[in-house]
């Protein structure tokens, strides 16, 4: 399915400076592996060494957190927006 993955500002440097990437995927896991296949440098920012999604990075399908869906097995449909939302701490 064609889906759009939104790349947050802190990670755009590792994704060809794009704010979103269009991909073909049937699940969130496929979308993220397709994404890190295209942009290898993103991998260490999204996944820990054991391949798990890092705990300061959340992934949403539309407005729902995949931790409360089926995590990386969460299916995506045409037109869905997958958002990567890492924690940011700036304020000064």
């Amino acid at each position: 399915m064609p889906v759009k993955v939104m790349i947050p500002t802190p990670l755009r440097a590792y994704a060809g400076k794009q704010e979103s990437v269009q991909l073909q995927a049937a699940t969130v896991g496929e979308a993220l592996s397709e994404l890190t296949g295209q942009f290898a440098e993103l991998r260490k920012h999204l996944f820990s060494d054991d391949g798990r999604l890092r705990s300061f990075v959340n992934v949403y399908v539309n407005d729902e957190d995949i931790r409360y869906l089926q995590r990386d097995k969460t299916p995506v449909r045409e037109g869905d927006v997958v958002s990567i939302v890492p924690s940011i701490a700036g304020g000064a």
């Binding site: 500002t9 701490a89 304020g91």
Partner: protein, 397 residues
């Protein structure tokens, strides 16, 4: 420097009352004529006690709007001193405040804005030792801090005390806003159980920030704080608001309370405040310099060797827009491009890598050393140190 913890700098005059003076009725008239606030809401504001952590980018609009709105007791916590780089966005401060403690300049400004309210100024760094004592007298805590350890500290202290935490954070031109710690609502650790390792996410000082962004995000935090006090509207609880100033878009994501959350879940494992620097992988007060086996060259040594005519290849690993601000004639190859452009470098020549402060170039030099480069140096302190020690005409940023 630090005031005794828990004791405001100013004497606690003007105790919260239950009615408005004639002067206050005039001052708050645009609130009073609105049914959503009215006399009832304005008196709630007058009785409210709000503590703002940080008086910087987010703290400035927060302080200004909460004071102007008539929040009866406004606490401010900061330990920093105003510097020139703050003025691009920290609108509580003017040029003549540079060098003053932020807390002092902020309190002066806000007392002038609204002498009817009580400003408690705490010139101290928020720590695990003082947080609970500082928070306990306030109804709402507003997080305008700028680093992960303090964010987790504010969160945990709010959860332990059962106080709402009006949260906002910013990066470059993006912001995140929500209310944590409301009864039955999620907390920061429900959203992000752990912080990123040091160095992986740049701070505003490293990554930059659009000056108006903290203005927008801090103003949204102020709006949510006022709504919590007057009890009107839909509070931003269980919803994470994302703001992108570049695309001028707001988006909203669902935020759920995690039953397994270590601090607010069903079986909490964090039942008192911990060492947040350690939790965030930071030893000591500042992030440690990356361990490196690459030798360092000071700016003075580099200048001496260049003057001698030595064949040195100066590698500038900053970004092109930084090169435009200032440069020392190095060959530009941003750190992020190094791995795929490494073949452009000649490993037989001596290479001196530099960046702004010496951190990125240490990573670059370490990468090159691992890639087989043997004659590689890191310029100690970067172009900032070059400006200090060799050529003061190079602007610092």
């Amino acid at each position: 420097m630090a005031t005794k913890i828990g004791i405001p700098i100013a004497p606690q005059t003007n105790k919260p009352g239950v009615s408005l003076s004639k002067q206050e009725v005039l001052r708050y008239s645009r609130h009073l004529i609105m049914p959503e606030v009215g006399m009832e809401g304005q008196l709630k504001l007058k009785r409210a006690k709000v503590l703002c952590i940080g008086t910087g980018g987010l703290g400035a609009p927060l302080g200004l709007y909460l004071a102007a709105a008539g929040v009866g007791r406004l606490g401010l916590v900061d330990f920093d001193v105003v510097d020139f780089t703050n003025l691009q966005r920290q609108v509580l401060f003017g040029t003549t405040d540079v060098g003053r403690p932020k807390i002092e300049a902020a309190a002066d400004h806000l007392r002038n804005l609204n002498p009817e309210i009580q400003i408690d100024a705490y010139e101290t760094r928020l720590t695990s030792e003082n947080a609970l004592d500082l928070f306990k007298d306030y109804d709402i805590i507003v997080d305008g801090t700028d680093n992960f350890p303090t964010r987790y500290l504010v969160n945990d202290a709010c959860v332990l005390l059962g106080k709402p935490n009006v949260y906002g954070s910013i990066f470059r031109f993006e912001g995140q806003i929500t209310i944590f710690g409301a009864p039955g609502g999620p907390c920061y650790r429900c959203l992000y159980p752990e912080p990123p390792p040091p160095g992986l996410v740049p701070s505003c000082a490293e990554g930059g920030v659009l000056g108006v962004l903290p203005g927008i995000v801090g103003t949204i935090q102020a709006a949510e704080t006022l709504k919590l006090i007057i009890g009107k509207g839909d509070a931003l609880i269980g919803r994470l608001l994302l703001f992108d100033a570049l695309g001028m878009k707001f988006r909203e994501l669902k935020l759920r309370k995690n039953p397994e959350c270590p601090v607010c879940g069903d079986h909490p494992t964090v039942t008192k405040l911990i060492d947040y620097a350690e939790f965030c992988g930071i030893r000591g007060e500042e992030a440690p310099a990356a361990p490196t086996s690459v030798p360092e060259m000071t700016p003075r040594e580099l200048k001496a060797r260049l003057d001698r005519g030595d064949d040195l290849y100066i590698l500038d690993v900053r970004e092109p827009h930084e090169y435009e601000i200032c440069n020392i004639g190095g060959h530009l190859m941003p750190l992020g491009e190094l791995s795929r452009r490494v073949h452009e470098l000649d490993s037989s020549r001596e290479i001196v890598a530099h960046c702004r402060s010496g951190k990125r170039s240490a990573d670059a030099a370490e990468f090159l050393r691992k890639a087989g480069f043997r004659k590689i140096w890191n310029l100690k302190g970067g172009i900032l140190a070059w400006s200090d020690e060799v050529d003061p005409s190079v602007p610092k940023y």
